[in-house]
Symmetry: C2
Subunit: 126 residues, 2 copies
């Protein structure tokens, strides 16, 4: 067994990290099927809690994530996935990382990324 | 509001990252109280799901985590905490990171950290 999916309703949190810079790009969830698909295809698959379905990152945007290395924590209930981000942006808002804001000492949020990689309305055309 | 604690039973996943190397050290959970204590003290506090209580990292081992920067993701339901790890080890097993094992292509686990920073039985004396 690689991951213990029992602790959190059949899911584990998956930390996606740029394999070269070490920047944390996003956190999403995987169920057993998403993990199996990720291993099988070498592309990141997640389980959406809100949509209750498996999804492949980049299936709409083309910004797939190519897996380079998978790390497992001591309790086997969380993973770090080192990936190459095709298109340069992991976040659906258009930034390279979903963590594009920092907490200021006053408890407010501040945007710390300088530039969007894309504009969502241009990429997610329906 | 910095974090939306409602999505996961009052908790968010907190990714702890070495502020200098960018290495992901651990993933644990915070409830609103743990986050408030972290902001107030500048030391990482978590909420233990198994023990159902607030804890400060390092309260037994002395290996506290000093907060340098807090990043918030697009959905405001996950955080990256860049920290300085006192004592050099974040993992209770004695490695600097909890993510000390990698998945091999055969689906087995392999230890990728070369050396433990401490031996648990020497640090967690009861």
């Amino acid at each position: 067994m690689v991951f213990d999916f029992k602790k959190m309703d059949g899911m584990i949190p998956a930390i996606t990290q740029d394999w070269q810079t070490g920047e944390v790009l996003m956190l999403a969830y995987m169920n057993e099927e998403a993990f199996a698909k990720t291993l099988e295809t070498g592309k990141m698959h997640y389980y959406s809690r809100s949509r209750d379905k498996l999804w492949m990152k980049g299936e709409s945007s083309g910004h797939v994530q190519l897996v380079k290395e998978i790390l497992v924590d001591c309790d086997q209930d969380a993973g770090v996935f080192k990936i190459e981000q095709v298109g340069g942006a992991a976040c659906h808002v258009g930034y390279n990382s979903c963590f594009y804001r920092a907490v200021e000492t006053e408890g407010r949020l501040r945007i710390v990324k300088m530039q969007k990689v894309f504009e969502p309305e241009e990429v997610y055309k329906k």
